[in-house]
């Protein structure tokens, strides 16, 4: 009998990768994350609101991000600020290393178009 076990979080989905990357620089609220992800990915990844919060929920449950603060935004409104945790930071670094290895391998073979 073969047991297949998931031992790694890699590869990350693009949404997760860019959300973690966005929070790596500084804590942000949902709207700022959505804008930053669009800018980081040069417009290639646009998060819908439902995708953003479904992903944030998963990251919170997994302990990769945490709620830092709630900032009041007018009467009865507050924005929740999220920050990346140490665990989330480790996952991001591991993913970047994995991507680096992939790109390095391509460079080693001098694939046309790769500097």
């Amino acid at each position: 009998m073969v047991l297949i076990m998931k031992t790694s979080n890699q590869p990350l989905s693009e949404q997760t990768y860019f959300i973690l990357l966005s929070l790596q620089s500084e804590p942000k609220h949902g709207y700022a994350i959505a804008k930053d992800v669009q800018s980081l990915s040069e417009g290639r990844v646009t998060l819908s609101v439902s995708t953003l919060y479904t992903t944030l929920k998963r990251l919170l449950d997994d302990g990769w991000i945490r709620l830092l603060d709630e900032v009041p935004q007018g009467p009865g409104k507050a924005r929740k600020i999220y920050e990346i945790t140490k665990r989330g930071g480790n996952v991001l670094v591991t993913e970047i290393q994995r991507l680096n290895t992939l790109v390095s391998a391509a460079r080693a073979r001098a694939v046309e178009g790769i500097a």
Binding site: H29, G30, Y31, A34, T46, S48, V49, S50, T51, L52, Y53, T54, L56, K57, R58, Q73, K77, A78, R79, K80
Partner: protein, 364 residues
């Protein structure tokens, strides 16, 4: 344009109520605020980016809904655990049951002539069509009752919900089909009069559906007994009353629709009186009116669209051996499912508002 944006935010606000309660409690305000801000950003960029934004949200929402529900628990458990999410449950109850009813009706129509033919020697000319029809109606009523109980009911009172659903279904079906079955009104009345009568029946049946939603929540135990009396009394009274009209001289005059309209008013009044007796909550009236009006408006719109796809109706109707029979059945099934989902959502939504603002129940 600002009105459109406000409307879209309102619609999105309703849609995110489909998320599980825990998720909503944590993110609902944030989601709405970000949706509004991002939509305004898209709007500032122009019409095309706004359209792109709306389409993206529309496509992603059901996927994320499914994802979250599957993650939190099974879909059915999630539905049953959400007292405020009656709109979705109502939509499922009606969408599934009405679609199933039309499909089952199509199957029955295609089988009945063969069964009748096989049994013709044994029956010696007796028609079993009414028996087969009514057996089908009762079975569909039972299925509706089961769906109603599973999707809409409290776990401790499944049987109560199931019986109310079944008898409530039969109540609207009895009156709806009675006039055609026993008096063949399609032939007796002119096309215009038939159209009036059909519309009145749709309104009546909508109010009766509103009654089904109202009754199980009543604290009174004799609700079910009274419902059974109504199921028996309504067709009987209708039969004797209409017999009287048909046998009188008025049936040959232009005034023949007037006594039928009086009958309709009496039946509708009876439904309001019944609901009021066991659930004297003023918002219950709103539910019945929404059922009555929603039924006719939504059915009109959905069937109007459906008839764009249905080929011209032959004079004898689409008999089971007509080449377009099954495509017509499938189009009508889809149309009634859509009607059921919209209608059920309307009733469930109103009931949800009622439950969020409960008044004191009538003492047992």
């Amino acid at each position: 344009m600002t009105k459109l944006l406000a409307f879209l935010i309102k619609i999105y606000g309703l849609l995110i109520r489909l998320f599980p309660p825990n998720f909503r409690a944590e993110f609902e305000d944030q989601i709405l605020q970000d949706f509004s801000d991002l939509m305004n950003d898209a709007h500032r960029k122009g019409k095309y980016p706004l359209l792109q934004f709306c389409v993206r949200e529309l496509i992603n929402l059901p996927i994320n809904l499914l994802h979250i529900h599957l993650k939190e628990s099974s879909m059915i458990t999630a539905l049953r655990s959400q007292p405020a999410n009656l709109g979705l449950r109502g939509a499922l109850v009606f969408g599934l049951s009405l679609g199933f009813m039309i499909l089952a009706n199509g199957v029955a129509l295609s089988i009945e002539p063969r069964v009748e033919y096989w049994m013709s020697g044994w029956l010696q000319g007796l028609s079993i069509r009414p028996l087969l029809d009514w057996t089908g109606f009762v079975l569909i009523g039972l299925i509706f009752g089961c769906l109603f109980a599973v999707l809409f009911g409290d776990r401790s009172q499944y049987l109560h919900y199931m019986l109310v659903g079944t008898f409530g279904w039969l109540l609207q079906l009895c009156v709806y089909n009675y006039l055609e079955y026993f008096f063949n009104f399609r032939v007796l009345l002119s096309a215009q009069e038939n159209l009036y009568l059909t519309n009145l029946k749709i309104i009546l049946s909508g109010a009766m559906f509103g009654l089904i939603f109202t009754l199980p929540h009543s604290e009174r135990r004799e609700v079910l007994r009274t419902l059974v009396i109504y199921v028996a009394a309504y067709p009987m009274l209708t039969y004797f009353y209409v017999s009287m009209i048909v046998n009188s001289s008025i049936s040959n005059t232009a005034l023949r629709l007037a006594p039928l309209a009086i009958l309709w008013l009496a039946l509708l009044g009876g439904i309001f009186a019944f609901a009021w007796k066991y659930n004297s909550n003023p918002e219950m009236v709103l539910l019945l009116i929404a059922g009555a009006m929603g039924s006719i408006v939504l059915k009109f719109v959905v069937l109007l669209v459906a008839f764009l796809f249905i080929p011209p109706v032959p004079p004898e109707g689409f008999l089971y051996d007509h080449p377009s029979f099954w495509s017509v059945v499938l189009i009508l099934t889809a149309a009634h499912t859509i009607f059921g989902v919209l209608f059920g959502f309307l009733l469930g939504w109103i009931l949800g508002i009622q439950k969020e603002n409960p008044l004191q129940p009538v003492a047992a």
